[in-house]
């Protein structure tokens, strides 16, 4: 295999691995940067994306004990993958608004630790609810027919078409949100909020429309990540935490509050993971944590974090 081929191969792998992390990380990063709200329950949006998405695209099997005891069967709209990809961000956007109103808002004025605890608890509940209704076993979220199989890129190697589809979908979503934040009033509020923490400390400002919208947008992206990631990662209740931890690392590495930071952080984490898989596979799960530690030692605010660290 040519040098160019392996470089391109490395890049494509990195992009594919990074995509899901980035989609989940953006929402975490923005709510952390603007609202100073730390949201472990963000992973619940990913779970909603996976499970509701599965129900829209195919058929969701209810085999949990509670579902069985009340005779709940399988539910499926069977609308196909694209329908799920289109509907889920809207649903999770709405769920995000609800979460802002009923979970986040009562806790804006409470200490960080309470925010973490309550969102951790809610993630636990969502996870266990899924286990109770849908069941704990792994489900198959099969890829759409048009993205099955592999595509040969000539000398650049052969890739699963689904990987390329993930990269494409993620790019479009991230770019759209980036433009939205860069060129609209909502975005202005977000950028101002990230820079001026005093302002957002006032509850009144936090509850205004732009911040609500941004909470929803972050949730929508996490939901979309669930649809995109469903066919790659396992569909089990624990997968929420499984993506949450790397996404948090992306935020730590990239710096809080900026989309560019999340993208850079995500790509770096992806690159380290892929690089280690190729060269020292035993260490591949360890490497991303080590990266986070190193970045933090060198640049406590993260690579793209401009805000002075005053904690």
């Amino acid at each position: 295999m040519s040098v160019v081929g392996s470089v391109v191969g490395f890049m494509i792998q990195t992009l594919a691995v990074s995509s899901i992390y980035i989609l989940v990380a953006i929402g975490l990063s923005i709510t952390l940067g603007t609202l100073k709200f730390v949201n472990f329950a963000h992973a619940a949006m990913y779970l909603a994306g996976v499970y509701i998405g599965l129900g829209i695209a195919l058929e969701l099997q209810f085999s949990g004990d509670i579902a069985r005891s009340i005779g709940l069967g399988n539910v499926g709209l069977d609308l196909g993958f694209l329908a799920a990809l289109a509907i889920i961000p809207i649903i999770t956007f709405g769920l995000g608004l609800l979460m802002e109103r009923f979970v986040a808002r009562p806790f804006y004025d409470r200490p960080d630790t309470d925010q973490i605890l309550v969102t951790f608890g809610i993630l636990l509940i969502v996870q266990e609810l899924i286990r109770a209704f849908v069941g704990g076993r792994s489900l198959t979220f099969s890829r759409p027919a048009w993205a099955e199989g592999a595509i040969s890129l000539g000398p650049l190697g052969t890739y699963a078409s689904w990987r390329l589809a993930i990269i494409g979908i993620t790019s479009v979503l991230v770019l759209a949100v980036y433009l939205y934040i860069e060129y609209t009033d909502v975005g202005l509020a977000v950028r101002a909020g990230t820079e001026d923490t005093e302002m957002v400390n006032l509850l009144g400002v936090r509850a205004t429309r732009p911040f609500l919208v941004i909470f929803g947008v972050g949730s929508g992206l996490a939901g979309a990540a669930g649809v995109v990631g469903g066919p790659v990662f396992s569909v089990v209740p624990e997968v929420g935490v499984g993506v949450l931890v790397p996404a948090f690392l992306v935020v730590v590495v990239g710096g809080v509050g900026s989309i560019v930071g999340s993208v850079v952080g995500g790509l770096l984490i992806g690159a380290v993971e892929v690089g280690l898989v190729m060269n020292a596979p035993t260490w591949s799960s360890v490497g991303i944590y080590a990266l986070a530690a190193v970045v933090l030692l060198v640049r406590p605010a993260g690579l793209m974090g401009a805000v002075e660290v005053d904690e």
């Binding site: 190729m278 596979p281 591949s284």
Partner: protein
């Protein structure tokens, strides 16, 4: 720590507990009465031959029911396997008390309890976590006075539980555990395994797969980076290289890996002819379906050395044509299989999986050994189990070896069916290519393979 001392500890605790019931009011009496060391057999010694044997573990049984502990994953990644095992355990307890199933086939068993005792059972949830499994088992031993416990749907939980068995002098009949270590480096006198291991899988697969795909091929291995994966990887290398193939590379995938694409890409780039995916359960479903997704089956042949039904169901059509092994199949044509599968189907309305048969069989084996020994006294039951040969378990002739407590037995080499041919109702996901038999095709001596590392420990009556 010597087993006798450990065991005496629990007896003392029980005694103390009994004394505690009397409460502080009885303190004066205790001052004179207690000797403090292992008098747990003072009372409640039912019809078990009086004081024939000294107290050991939970022997003698108090009352007229013997309690078994069924410790399976009811939550977590192996809960499907666990649920099927539990159904089989409960079925076995029912048959032992009331007849039916193998009880009617096996001469040792009466259908009227075991050795004069009714069979009672307690269940526990291992959550596929070694600590939880061990804690749950110790509750069964200590509080419920289980005389034997069984279960385990991963090597880690099995190894954790059998260590406890040895300490507490209570028998543990392993269920689903495929690691070489269970009856290798980590083997114990109080643990028994009917499941085959990775080593035997290698022996069974190599001749058939090499014959199918040809000589002098190059193979590439991905393996789950923990003990089971490592032993299986080593076994595959050993037996396929002995069969004339050569390994290009073998790469560990860390536990918890969800996305195998990078690993798989590396595998394709290696130019090897055959890819071994040494992953189990959920990981197995993931890696094989991602491999097919990535088009790897167009360039390479894929082998998944160890299969099970939930895993095949998860992978769906991806396993078409993929070779692997399993311990038993409900569609086998023999009487014990038919009897068990029918009883199971009648009770639960579904086809039993191979883990279910293991669970059923473990319970039956234990009960039969107790009947043969004429007592529940653990060392005697162990001696009955050791070296026992039988052919009425649905998978041909089997022998429980004395040297490492590993059953030498036949293994099914199977090949995945296409999505259209699969039938979830009857649990048909593959066709049986061959029943690799012991000792012709599989098996190893007591001084070789995993057995070489096994030291079983004491019976407890030395």
């Amino acid at each position: 720590m010597a087993e006798n001392d450990t065991q005496s500890r629990r007896d003392v605790l029980k005694t103390a507990g009994a004394a505690g019931t009397v409460g502080l009011a009885g303190l004066a009496g205790c001052l004179e009465g207690g000797n403090g060391n292992g008098n747990g057999n003072g009372n409640g010694n039912g019809g078990d031959g009086g004081s024939e044997y000294p107290a050991l573990g939970n022997y003698p049984i108090e009352g007229d029911a013997a309690t078994l502990g069924f410790n399976v994953p009811q939550t977590g990644p192996y809960q499907e396997e666990g649920a099927d095992e539990l159904r089989a355990y409960e079925l076995a307890a029912d048959h032992l008390n009331n007849g039916g199933g193998w009880v009617d086939l096996w001469d040792d068993l009466s259908g009227d309890g075991v050795n004069g005792y009714e069979i009672d059972y307690e269940t526990g949830d291992t959550a596929t976590d070694a600590d939880t499994a061990r804690e749950s088992a110790s509750r069964m031993i200590e509080r419920d006075n289980a005389i034997m416990y069984s279960g385990g749907s991963s090597s880690a939980t099995a190894i954790a539980q059998q260590g406890l068995a040895q300490q507490e002098n209570v028998l543990f009949m392993c269920c689903l555990t495929h690691s070489n270590d269970t009856t290798g480096g980590d083997c114990v006198r109080y643990g028994f395994r009917e499941m085959f291991n990775a080593y035997m899988t290698g022996q069974a697969l190599a001749p058939i797969v090499t014959e199918e795909y040809g000589d002098d091929l190059e193979f590439y291995q991905l393996y789950a980076d923990y003990t089971w994966g490592q032993t299986q990887q080593a076994s595959m290398r050993q037996f396929f290289e002995e069969a004339g193939w050569s390994e290009v590379d073998s790469v560990p995938t860390p536990l918890g890996t969800d996305d195998y694409s990078t690993f798989l890409q590396e595998a394709v780039d290696s130019g090897a002819d055959v890819l071994f995916l040494n992953h189990y359960g959920l990981d197995g479903s993931n890696s094989v379906s991602q491999a097919v997704d990535q088009g790897i089956n167009e360039d390479m042949e894929i082998v998944v050395p160890l299969y099970n039904v939930p895993m095949a169901a998860g992978a769906g059509g991806s396993i078409e044509g993929v070779f692997g092994t399993d311990g038993w199949d409900a569609n086998l044509d023999n009487e014990p299989t038919r009897v068990f599968a029918e009883a199971f189907e009648e009770e639960y309305g579904s086809t039993p999986s191979s883990p279910a048969r293991l669970a059923y069989s473990a319970t039956m084996q234990y009960a039969a050994a107790v009947e043969r020994a004429g007592t529940f006294y653990p060392p005697e039951v162990i001696r009955e189990l050791e070296g026992y040969e039988w052919d009425n378990g649905g998978i041909g002739e089997e022998i429980m070896r004395e040297c490492d407590h590993q059953t030498m037995r036949d293994i099914l080499v199977v090949r995945g069916l296409s999505e259209e041919e699969q039938d979830a109702e009857s649990g048909r996901y593959w066709e049986v290519v061959e029943q690799a038999s012991y000792p012709d095709a599989v098996g190893y001596e007591c001084d070789s393979g995993p057995a070489a590392e096994c030291e079983l420990g004491e019976y407890g009556d030395e």
